[in-house]
């Protein structure tokens, strides 16, 4: 898909168009809006990132990862279990504090940002967690509305009962995108595995992100939902110009939806290639290992 | 803040025998209000300390209290005496089991004696003084313990301690509560000085006089309200006395010395 960069679309305004109302009914296909001038061509740059859980003596999980992701790219991060994929993704918005190295996102040096700046940056980045991380005692709708925390403020975004009507409706639209409107009132701990994953996705959509970081976003989804979600991501990339960084254990998804594949093995990047002419069997070697853990 | 003209704030602390007042002060308050024409706010206070502080920070106008408390009040706030309340049979005693080994005060040497409540006139100071008067030095010839009366009596029945200090009224109650056990008294103190009504120094002379007269003239009526319940008839017979002198309380001050507390004696010489 790195060839398809020409067809990438950008919203006219620096913000992202309202997802509520008719406008959110995206029509697939090229859109003529342009990338705003202030959007850097490199949206994510990771430089020799080292991460340890625990102090100096403990083993490094990421052992010096470097990575550059261009604006509008879709990067599939692959690797066997425990290779460090989730850890890498969580380092990007500094949910984990890297031990060494640097990360820049959307042109900002993540490591040097202070509280407020970091919050502002994070609010522009959608994150779908491998374990979904929903607030289980709240309703699905409230969980989705949480996505608006970055722009709406703590009180208006903390519970659906307190949220202004626009947010509630926007959240319903996000739920509609993952076909979950009828469960909006359900408590988040009464969902099936796939439903809960979709709520997590809807919550990330609610952020109107510029970068979408998704950790195995379709692992619990049935095949057709999985494809719909991946298509949705692709459409957002085309229409809103977002950048997508996702992990997956489906090589097929990685090849079909990624412009590029980055493979990790035991905390090191062992492969970084455009997907253009890759076949599934070209990637099998990533998983051959005795030291997988 | 000076007290409002219409309202007097009236506290009662730990007056032995006035426990009933602490729970059912309604009739007493109404009577006092009717007799004086003031609105009466009434506070039964469990803690001497709190009452003293309330009086010295002028949140309270009058306090009805016991002799030991009076000495403390006097030493810590410049309080004025309104009237005294003389009650019959108000004395401290040392109670032991009638069938026990203790027959005389001398037998108490080296034994445990319990006092009901720290600093209380008739449960702590009085009994300790009674023993001292008969030659037993506090905390030297016997081991004093502060244990609440309920527990102390049970412990004495068990034999864990040998004597309990209390006043005459208490012993009557206890005899009724333990009909199967016989108690006897091995030491008896002098009659204790009167309970006393004092006023904060911020109280106006007019109000002071009004209250004083009311208590002297209508002491009996007020008392009648206190002892409305059948059980409390035995507290009848008290008198309100107009002439109270501070030196009457030197006996109490010496009691404090007896138990090793000297700080309240500073006013003796005044």
């Amino acid at each position: 898909m790195s060839e398809s960069t020409a067809t990438r679309s950008r919203p006219v305004e620096p913000g992202i168009p309202e997802a509520s109302g008719v406008e959110c009914n995206f029509i697939p296909g090229p859109v003529v809006t342009e990338v705003p001038a202030d959007r850097p061509a490199t949206v994510c740059a990771v430089d020799r990132l080292v991460l340890r859980f625990g102090g100096r003596g403990s083993p490094a999980i990421l052992k010096g990862v470097s990575l550059v992701i261009a604006d509008g790219e879709a990067v599939a991060v692959l690797g066997s279990n425990g290779a460090g994929k989730s850890t890498l993704l969580r380092c990007l918005p500094r949910l984990l504090e890297p031990s060494e190295g640097s990360v820049s996102l959307l042109g900002e040096d993540v490591m040097s940002l202070r509280r407020a700046g970091l919050r502002r940056l994070r609010s522009r980045i959608g994150f779908v967690f491998q374990r979904h991380n929903l607030s289980t005692r709240l309703s699905v709708l409230s969980n989705v509305i949480h996505g608006a925390h970055g722009r709406a403020g703590a009180l208006r975004a903390c519970h659906q009962a307190l949220a202004p009507q626009e947010l509630r409706e926007e959240a319903m639209d996000c739920l509609a995108q993952v076909s979950l409107t009828d469960l909006a009132g359900r408590r988040a701990d009464q969902l099936s595995g796939g439903q809960s994953q979709r709520v997590a996705i809807a919550r990330a959509l609610m952020q109107r992100p510029e970068i979408m970081i998704a950790d195995e976003p379709v692992a619990s989804l049935d095949p057709s939902s999985a494809e719909e979600v991946m298509d949705l991501f692709a459409r957002l990339m085309r229409e809103r110009g977002i950048t997508l960084i996702f992990t997956s254990h489906h090589l097929k998804h990685a090849l079909a939806y990624g412009d590029r594949v980055v493979a990790l093995k035991a905390g090191l990047v062992v492969e970084d290639k455009p997907t253009a002419r890759l076949r599934e069997q070209d990637l099998d070697w990533i998983y051959d290992s005795n030291d997988r853990t | 803040a000076a007290s409002a003209a219409e309202t007097i704030r009236f506290a009662v602390t730990d007056v032995e025998g006035l426990e009933a007042l602490q729970t059912e002060f309604g009739p007493f308050r109404d009577k006092l209000s009717a007799l004086t024409g003031y609105d009466v706010e009434f506070f039964p206070v469990n803690s001497r300390t709190a009452a003293v502080e309330a009086l010295s920070s002028e949140h309270i106008d009058f306090v009805l209290t016991g002799p030991a408390e009076y000495v403390v009040f006097k030493s810590r706030t410049d309080a004025k005496v309104v009237v005294g309340w003389q009650r019959p049979d108000y004395f401290a005693q040392i109670v032991v089991m009638a069938d026990g080994p203790i027959k005389t005060v001398e037998d108490l040497r080296g034994k445990k004696v319990s006092f009901g409540s720290v600093g209380s006139t008739s449960q702590h100071l009085g009994p300790a003084q009674a023993l001292a008067d008969m030659g037993l030095v506090y905390n030297k010839d016997y081991a004093p313990q502060i244990i609440s009366r309920n527990v102390a009596v049970e412990a004495m029945i068990r034999g864990d301690l040998q004597a309990v200090g209390m006043n005459f009224g208490h012993l009557n109650i206890i005899r009724k509560a333990f009909p199967d056990h016989a108690f006897t008294v091995v030491a008896r103190g002098r009659d204790l000085p009167n309970d006393i009504l004092i006023a904060g120094k911020h109280v106006s002379a007019e109000m002071f006089d009004k209250i004083r007269t009311t208590f002297i003239e209508h002491g009996k009526d007020l008392m009648a309200q206190v002892v409305k319940g059948d059980d409390n008839k035995k507290y009848l017979g008290g008198h309100f006395l107009a002439t109270i002198e501070d030196k009457d309380y030197n006996y109490v001050r010496s009691m404090y010395s007896t138990i090793g507390v000297d700080k309240f004696n500073s006013f003796v010489g005044n």
């Binding site: 969580r90 918005p93 949910l95 919050r119 994070r122 609010s123 522009r124 980045i125 994150f127 967690f129 374990r131 991380n133 929903l134 607030s135 289980t136 005692r137 709240l138 409230s142 949480h146 996505g147 925390h149 970055g150 403020g153 703590a154 009180l155 975004a157 903390c158 519970h159 997590a200 919550r203 952020q207 | 704030r9 426990e19 009933a20 602490q22 729970t23 706010e41 506070f43 039964p44 206070v45 469990n46 803690s47 300390t49 709190a50 009452a51 502080e53 309330a54 920070s57 949140h59 309270i60 609440s148 009366r149 309920n150 049970e154 029945i157 068990r158 109650i173 206890i174 009724k176 509560a177």
Partner: protein, 267 residues
């Protein structure tokens, strides 16, 4: 993924790693407990053998004396009202204090230590001193009693609230952080929803505790059921005391019931 065999593929140690310090501390603590047990001198023979005395005590308590039922209930209601006000105020102050005192949510570790200390201070300074303070400040009466209850409640609730917040699952908090939510946002969206059952339990316990231990109200001339009970005991009216205790017990059970009912709705 072939199964390796034999007992020699490194079964982890039974005890994990123990630092010498931790070991020394553990042994020291255990020794202290043993010494203390010895010091206290509990023995089974002692405990059994109070039978007849206890039977007498119980017989003195039953049947409960119902003659003063009405004034006791009125007094209980008044006490409960003061307890409600004091507890509500205390909980209101506890919420922000707990945030400041929680290891995960305090803006700064030093602040956390300070607020932990403050809360411990509220607990440690005894009721009588608080009673004095409030008597000096607002005079004798219910207002001072309520404030004393408030302080008690803060010392208790703020600590347990803080601890509940520390125990809350990290997942949702991480999600909220990733969305750019601020401290308040994380609290309201990820922490409070998780700890609300624990808050209810703690809060209603505080209410019940305030009602039960209303002796502090007596200290400041606010009356209360605690005084009634004290007077009953002073007069050795064990049957009246029994009746008062039973009334309090029923109230306690009702508060427990309310707590259970509220928690069932959110658990």
């Amino acid at each position: 993924m072939t199964a390796t065999t034999g007992p020699d593929h490194g079964v982890p140690h039974r005890m994990g790693k123990i630092t010498p310090l931790a070991f020394a501390l553990t042994v020291g603590a255990a020794a202290f407990v043993l010494v203390s047990f010895n010091h206290v001198g509990l023995s089974w023979e002692k405990i059994l053998g109070g039978g007849p005395g206890l039977a007498r005590l119980v017989s003195q308590m039953f049947p409960p004396d119902l003659s003063r039922l009405t004034p006791v209930l009125v007094s209980l209601l008044e006490t409960f009202q003061m307890a409600v006000v004091g507890t509500v105020l205390g909980i209101a102050f506890s919420l922000p204090l707990a945030v400041m005192a929680s290891a995960k949510h305090a803006p700064h570790p030093l602040l956390r230590i300070g607020f932990r200390g403050l809360i411990a201070f509220f607990r440690t300074v005894p009721d009588l001193i608080w009673a004095l303070v409030f008597v000096i400040a607002v005079g004798l009466g219910p207002a001072a009693g309520t404030l004393a209850i408030m302080i008690d409640t803060i010392g208790f609730c703020a600590r347990f609230f803080a601890e509940a917040m520390e125990e809350a699952d990290d997942g949702p908090q991480e999600a909220l952080t990733a969305m750019g939510a601020g401290r308040t946002g994380i609290l309201f969206s990820a922490v409070y929803p998780q700890v609300i059952p624990s808050f209810i339990a703690t809060g209603l316990f505080a209410l019940e505790k305030a009602t039960r231990s209303s002796v502090v109200l007596g200290l400041v001339g606010a009356g209360g059921i605690g005084i009634e009970l004290k007077v009953a005991m002073d007069f050795f009216s064990y049957d009246l005391a029994c009746m008062i205790i039973i009334s309090i017990f029923i109230l306690v059970l009702m508060v427990e019931q309310a707590s259970g009912w509220l928690r069932a709705r959110v658990l």
